[in-house]
């Protein structure tokens, strides 16, 4: 049979060469605009003789980043610890609740509404209360990060785990696959793209959550640094801390993109 000859037409993955120029533009133009804004800021501070306590020039912030790096790195280490621990806690909780919701009708009816209501609590307002209950250590911060991470993870995991093609599940059922096998082979992988989006939302939230959670009281951290240095009119250190927080958030945003490529290699192909 010559069927393979008849259709040896494989839709090859077309390397998008024509997209390259526009890709350069999409990276280059924002960079140019960003650089222009920084230069304008620098120029304005110099021309108008603004004191650093009101608004430090970018050059000043840069030198502060270098000079005060011990202080800043120390703060970053603590905040990063809160982010990572809080994320892991919230992630574990979110996946647990999602599995409960997907596999148990009772759980779905009783616990899921509470999950939704939990999101109406203003977490920032909760922070001072948690400091009273849990103290000035990292514990209340971890809890606040976890609370914020928990929700997007739960919602995306529930959506993902129920997104599997029913015909694919039927195919597996016809092969006498167990529920666990169906989960491992179909439902789980089908949930991954949803979950990756959830992780991305959760991680960017985690950065802000950790910083804000330090404001009402902490022993260390970038958020604490912002509050205390602000009181000392060291605006340059505050801005330097903001720069570091922004960089952390950028990394947290990029991480799921990299993770996605590693965990879902099939996505890169066949999108042509």
């Amino acid at each position: 049979m010559t069927i393979s000859d008849v259709e040896a037409r494989v839709q090859s993955v077309n390397p998008r060469t024509e997209g390259r120029t526009s890709r350069w533009a999409s990276v280059g133009i924002p960079l140019v605009i960003f650089a222009a804004l920084i230069l304008a800021w620098e120029g304005a501070v110099r021309a108008l003789n603004i004191v650093p306590a009101i608004l430090p020039a970018p050059s000043r912030v840069l030198s502060t980043l270098v000079k005060e790096h011990d202080l800043l790195i120390d703060g970053m280490a603590t905040t990063l610890q809160e982010i990572v621990l809080g994320f892991l806690l919230g992630f574990a909780l979110g996946i647990g609740v999602a599995l409960g919701v997907v596999f148990s009708g009772v759980f779905r009816r009783t616990v899921y509404p509470l999950v939704v209501i939990s999101q109406l609590i203003p977490v920032v307002a909760l922070a001072p209360v948690l400091v009273i209950i849990l103290g000035f250590g990292i514990e209340p911060k971890v809890v606040i990060v976890a609370l914020g991470v928990f929700f997007p993870i739960t919602v995306t995991a529930v959506a993902g785990l129920t997104s599997a093609d029913p015909e694919m599940i039927n195919l597996l059922r016809s092969l006498s696959a167990s529920r666990l096998q169906i989960f491992r082979m179909v439902r789980g992988p089908a949930a991954l793209p949803y979950l990756m989006t959830g992780i991305q939302i959760a991680l960017t939230y985690a950065v802000t959550g950790a910083v804000v959670a330090e404001w009402p009281g902490a022993q260390k951290g970038l958020g604490l640094l912002m509050v205390t240095q602000n009181a000392l009119s060291r605006t340059d250190i505050v801005v330097a801390a903001i720069v570091i927080v922004t960089c952390l958030a950028l990394v947290m945003y990029a991480l799921p993109v990299v993770l996605r490529r590693l965990v879902m290699p099939w996505e890169r192909i066949g999108r042509g």
Binding site: M1, S4, E7, S12, E167, N170, L171, S174, S176, M185
Partner: protein
Amino acid sequence: MTGTSAAATRESAASVRVEAVSKVFPGDVRALDDINLEADAGQFVAVVGPSGCGKSTLFNIVAGLIRPDTGRVLLGGRDITGTTGHCGYMLQRDLLLPWRTVIDNVVIGLDVLGVPRSESYARARELLQRFGLQRFERSYPAVLSGGMRQRCAVIRTILYDAPLFLLDEPFTALDAQTRLLMQEWLLEVWSTLGKTVFYITHDVDEAIFLSDRVFAMSARPGHLLTMVEVELERPRSHEVRFDPHFVGLKAQLVALIRGEAERALAAELT
């Protein structure tokens, strides 16, 4: 090109009997009404009928995915009503998992059975080679053409090596030319496997071309209109479509089913 014969047999072909099967869905939707079908071991049997005649419900009952309200399904004389794992199952959609490579897709039935990968891969490679897909072993399904994907689905069905193959309009989504080639190819494959096949289609021509026996079903609620034996020699090539016996059967079945389709349409319009 070397290697032993196709898959080592888990179970050989078995006869299938569908006895007095009826099914009513909630809302008083009567899908099937007293269906009786029979296929001898190793026979190729088609069920043909207008769309919406409950063919797919019948299919799911034989596969064990749905329980009939009454009646039973026998495989080799054993009552298998409502149980799964006895048939290879293939639909119009290939249902390849996008996150599994071609080879991991075709061995999924063996994964479910717990066959070690070393063994399942060896069997899969032999079939991939035979069906001209060995170059795509490590590719994801997204890069394959429709015909290639359907061949993967056939390989997946063969590797599971169940005594009964259930095919529900597997080639309907393909273009006309590819479909004809796939039909001939399927017959060739089937002749080397000797499995019992239940083939569900709305295409009378396809049903006669492939089968030893054709059951025609009415519009909903689906009941049996007639059964014809196809007495055409095998192996068949596409020229068999011009054989007087073929043409006669086709005229008979088309008239029956057309009448049913018209009746169903009239019922919908009133």
